[in-house]
Amino acid sequence: EDITIMSWGGSYAAAETEAYYKPFTEETGIGVVSVDADNPATPVKAQVDAGNVTTDVALFLISDAMRLCDEGQLMPIDASLLPDGADGTPAEEDFLEGTLSECMVPNDIYATAVAYDASQFAEGAAPSSIADFFDTEKFPGKRGVLKSPKVVLEMALMADGVPASEVYDVLDTDEGVDRAFAKLDTIKGDAIYWEAGAQPPQLLADGEVVMTMSYNGRIFNAAVNEGKPFEVLWDGQVYEWEGYVIPEGAPNAEAAMEYIKYATSSERSAKFSERISYGTPRKSAAPLVGNVFGTDIPMAPNLPTYPENMTNALASSAEFWVDRETELGERFNAWLLAN
């Protein structure tokens, strides 16, 4: 019997395949059918709404997981069933604070950060803070901007001097939103917007932009696999966790749970992080992360969870965005439209 897993595709799914699917099948005899989606939350919601669920496991952003969980479209997952950490810590304690939620078991933490092509800047003249991204005088040229209010508004506020810890308080007020958009206005004329994760490295490689927001894993891939001189700027990035959910009505819910237990174990989680530079949510897994797969470069310093990378980082607030996404989305679109 096979289970169907819906995920992001691309190098993310490739890492899953190597770290999870193959060994899982080998161990349990349960086959895995891998399906890509732009964002699995959309098809899963459609499947549940239509009463026609074909997905057993899906990889969700925490915000989507919380939203659909509240809407009764995901199965609650009992965290106590999850395997203990490698060091014996019970699962509930082994996962980073607040990452476990009613319906989702976290798989990784990714960051949306600013990245640049180091070869384009003189030694020491590279951008060094999130404020630099919004400083078109010091760093003239186009920049790649994620076409979404989420992340972008937060970054704008941080660049405008709001400490990470206060970002959502400020953004919860009308003035704060205005302030964020005002900051965005300063780079509006230089922005190239992207939607798909594959675009930022392409934009950097083409020299279309001097710097760009990007998912950190993409930049790292380009640097390691293709030897591109791309760097991630670990300042003012917004990180978020994502993980596995089981849609309500999944045809093979039991096997799905088996899979989730397997994949979110410390050993497997560490293997996953070696293949793609997204941080593990398991405390006990962090020390197990070795070198980048197939190289002798240590992976840990390239993860969003590496303590030195976390000095000015913001955890994306799922609570904030489930409430405000529609409104701010419309405002963002209106802002894009206004020239």
Partner: protein, 312 residues
């Protein structure tokens, strides 16, 4: 298109400009296709002409993307390419599976839309056809409804088509049948348009002639009507096939993991991972297209010969 001797200076100038404009438009049409062919040999995973490529350094070129078409999705990339490897390829390589699916879905969607469309066009061509305009409008509507709406609507309906009569007869999503039906619906307007156009030039007295010679309607259709409208049917069928072959949105919604098509693979290629593999696919498809177009042209010439239309 040579100008006559008496053409005025103005006419000559204008004619020259006209030819230049036409040339530019043709260049515009073909440029994007020319651009992708060399890029499919890029050694780097970007859609960018690298310096090495521009200086014709062999290192700037590689066949890796063509190779990746074979290896993506395979269990063992590096294995020896023996018989087992090739048979594994047939079952596991993503692009090969996608190509298979595209062909299967395209084929059946084309058959379905061409057969039903031709039949309907025959009816629409009859002078006594009732409610012609309304029916024509309904049949052409899949072309005029934005695809995103079509795809979503289809997804919900296909999830449980019998729900409308209060029953449950399983789903059409994630099935070949579902994708084929969706694509057939999208291809039908093209078949209707081309075949009715052909039928409008069809000499109805041939049908009467066949009847007067003793042929029953079925025989008349297969022996007289069909051979003569075949070029129009083929051209409509090709439109339908291309529609299916290049369709991604409906596949995105309706197909399951088993029905991933070439455009669907390309779509994740563009969205999720940079890979000139899609350019390699495109290059291969361009070559196939050229062969197909040549075939169509040859068929057309044949049919003109048959109908006795001498080439102008």
């Amino acid at each position: 298109m040579a100008l006559p001797t008496y053409a005025s200076q103005l006419e000559r100038t204008w004619h020259f400009i006209y030819l230049v404009i036409c040339t530019l438009v043709f260049v515009f049409l073909i440029a994007p296709i020319l651009v992708i062919v060399p890029l499919s040999f890029n050694a780097e995973p970007y859609f960018t002409y690298t310096d090495k490529m521009l200086s014709f350094d062999p290192e700037g070129y590689s066949l890796r993307w063509y190779d990746s078409l074979l290896t993506t999705g395979m269990q063992a990339h590096e294995a020896v390419r023996d018989a087992a490897w090739w048979s594994d390829l047939w079952h596991n390589a993503d692009w090969v599976k996608a190509a298979k699916n595209s062909v299967i879905i395209g084929f059946w969607a084309t058959i379905l839309s061409t057969v039903l469309g031709t039949l309907a066009a025959l009816g629409l061509a009859r002078p006594e056809m009732p409610w012609r305009r309304t029916i024509m409008a309904i049949l052409i509507s899949p072309m005029i409804v934005p695809i995103i709406i079509v795809a979503t609507g289809m997804f919900f309906f296909y999830s449980n088509p019998c729900a409308i009569v209060g029953m449950d007869c399983g789903r059409l999503t994630s099935t070949y049948t579902g994708v084929i039906m969706a694509h057939a619906a999208l291809g039908i307007p093209f078949v209707i348009i081309t075949v009715t156009a052909t039928m409008s030039g069809f000499d109805q007295s041939l049908i009467r002639a066949a009847a007067s010679l003793g042929a029953n309607p079925r025989r008349t259709f297969f022996k007289v009507v069909m051979p003569l409208i075949l070029p129009g049917v083929i051209s409509g069928g090709l439109f339908a096939f291309v529609t299916s072959f290049d369709e991604v949105v409906a596949v995105l919604f309706i197909a399951g993991p088993d029905q991933q098509t070439i455009p669907r693979e390309m779509w994740s290629g563009i969205r999720e991972q940079i890979s000139p593999a899609i350019l390699a696919v495109a290059t291969i498809l361009v070559i196939i297209s050229i062969s197909l177009l040549t075939t169509v042209e040859l068929l057309r010439r044949r049919s003109e010969r048959l109908r006795g239309v001498s080439p102008r």
